[in-house]
């Protein structure tokens, strides 16, 4: 399931941040590598919430700094 979640998350990241899938892997930081600002991260979180039907509390958003963080967080919540 993790691989499927990862590819779905990467798809959302590409759409939201206007980046190419080839530039996205779990090591990438949203802000440092993928050009996101704080508003873009809020929008990304909303898109993830909608896609996976989960609610991500604001105090947990701060921990989602890389693609890998997002993948493991969502995977855990779905599990």
């Amino acid at each position: 399931m993790s691989a499927e979640v990862e590819s779905q998350i990467i798809e959302i990241i590409c759409e939201q941040l206007d980046v190419e899938a080839s530039d996205v892997d779990t090591s990438k930081s949203f802000m440092d590598d993928l050009g996101a600002d704080s508003l873009a991260i809020v929008e990304l979180v909303l898109a993830l919430e909608e896609k996976f039907d989960v609610k991500i509390p604001d105090d947990e958003v701060d921990g989602l700094q890389t693609v890998g963080h997002a993948v493991s967080y969502i995977t855990q919540r779905l599990g």
């Binding site: 206007d18 873009a40 929008e43 909303l46």
Partner: protein
């Protein structure tokens, strides 16, 4: 101390007649109407179902789609026009520009991001406040983000804000930008207006005020300033900006100067929220002040780009012009309303019409007032009816009047 002269060195235009100044100018010279049925939303039950929509605008020609989501359409138009204006001024290359701290932006709008406000309100209702409202909502809709986004894209670090004065926004922005350069607070300003209000609330609001034409079965004939059977204005959208520079600094860099901005005035009617003062008393004072600011006599003006919205106010503006120009208004003064072709761009109107005046001076061609076959008996000036024509004009004046009784007049001189 002599006043610093102001050069117009570039223009950027997006209008219902085309996606550039050149396309728009071609439409004006052909006497073409940019008005058609509204395609943006379902107009069932609306009194007015026509407008001047900008067609085939692709913002990704200018910036990536990531930014498109962050801006209401009125800001997208403004940023796109800023690229055009800098290119036309020969300043696309950042290295060719003056010190960025000496470059500012005054681009305003009449209403701001009404399309995004409506859509976001719908999604707020449907999805609730947490998921229904984008974090970009506020920066996408507020008026001054037109100027703000332009500064971000080009790194312009001088004065940056938006004037808002309804349908005179664009003209006030240009005039105030000139003042800023005259004062020595900047050497270069991108200035003008932008607007995108073809939405249910935008059309519904002006419909409710009985301000819009309902000639829905004849879109191309609907905007008919000075005609006996005119029945209201036709909403347009788009943007018009210009690059203004100090004459000295523009000359020093070898700029191609399109025209000189020699006069500007701003005042108020203090009469009524939407109706002009009787006989256009406020407009008369405004034009007189602008001519005085330019240091010229009324008889030196060869062309007026009228506010001319295709409403009852066309008669008032005609009276005001007669009041200021006297016998010269009867003979030798050409007046036209290009709104007959591009519609009324509201906050953008003064920007695009200022750019049109400059092009008219540069090329020695006057754009017509189309749909003018049976003039209102009280509208008896030379309105350049229906067909563009050559004219050797040294000075052109552009009028813009707005709700709230606010007025602006700009005077340009051939370079």
């Amino acid at each position: 101390m002599t006043r610093r002269r102001i050069a117009v060195t570039g223009t950027g235009v997006i209008s219902p007649l085309g996606l550039t100044m050149n396309e728009t100018w071609s439409g004006l010279m052909e006497g073409r109407s940019g008005i058609g049925p509204i395609t943006r939303f379902d107009t069932t039950d609306f009194g007015t179902t026509i407008a001047g929509e900008v067609r085939d605008f692709d913002p990704t020609v200018y910036f990536s789609k990531k930014y498109v989501r962050q801006m209401d359409l009125f800001i997208q138009y403004a940023v796109a026009c800023s690229f055009q204006a800098l290119e036309s001024a020969g300043l696309s290359d950042e290295a060719s520009r003056p010190d960025p701290e000496r470059c500012g932006v005054f681009v305003g709008a009449g209403l701001g991001g009404i399309i995004t406000i409506e859509k976001t309100h719908d999604s707020l209702r449907a999805k609730g406040p947490r998921r229904g409202v984008s974090p970009y909502f506020v920066p996408a809709i507020i008026v001054n983000l037109a100027a703000g986004q332009i500064s971000l894209f080009h790194g312009l670090k001088g004065p940056n804000f938006s004037h808002t004065s309804a349908c005179s926004t664009g003209a006030h922005s240009v005039g105030e930008a000139a003042r800023t350069i005259e004062r020595g607070d900047a050497d270069l300003m991108i200035a003008g207006g932008t607007e995108a209000t073809i939405s249910p609330l935008g059309v519904g609001g002006f419909n409710a005020a009985r301000a819009l034409s309902t000639r829905n079965d004849d879109p191309a004939g609907a905007s008919r300033p000075f005609s006996k059977d005119r029945d209201g204005f036709v909403m347009g959208e788009g943007c018009g900006v210009m690059v203004l520079e100090g004459w000295d600094t523009a000359k020093a860099r070898g700029a191609n100067i399109i025209a000189e901005l020699v006069g500007y005035a701003a005042n108020a009617d203090a009469h009524h929220i939407t109706a002009p003062s009787p006989n256009g008393e406020g407009a008369q004072r405004c034009m007189k002040l602008a001519l005085k600011d330019a240091g010229i006599e009324p008889s030196q003006v060869g062309y007026i780009n009228a506010h001319g919205t295709s409403t009852l106010a066309d008669t008032i503006e005609t009276r005001a012009i007669k009041g200021v120009f006297g016998a010269h208004a009867e003979s030798g003064l050409a007046v036209s309303s290009t709104k007959s072709m591009h519609g009324h761009l509201l906050g953008a109107a003064g920007g695009i019409e200022a750019a049109i005046c400059c092009e008219a001076l540069r090329l020695g061609r006057l754009p017509p007032t189309i749909n003018l076959h049976d003039p209102d008996p009280e509208c008896d000036l030379d309105y350049v009816a229906n067909t563009a024509r050559d004219a050797d004009v040294e000075y052109a004046l552009s009028n813009s009047f707005g709700f709230g009784g606010t007025n602006a007049s700009l005077v340009f001189r051939r370079a």
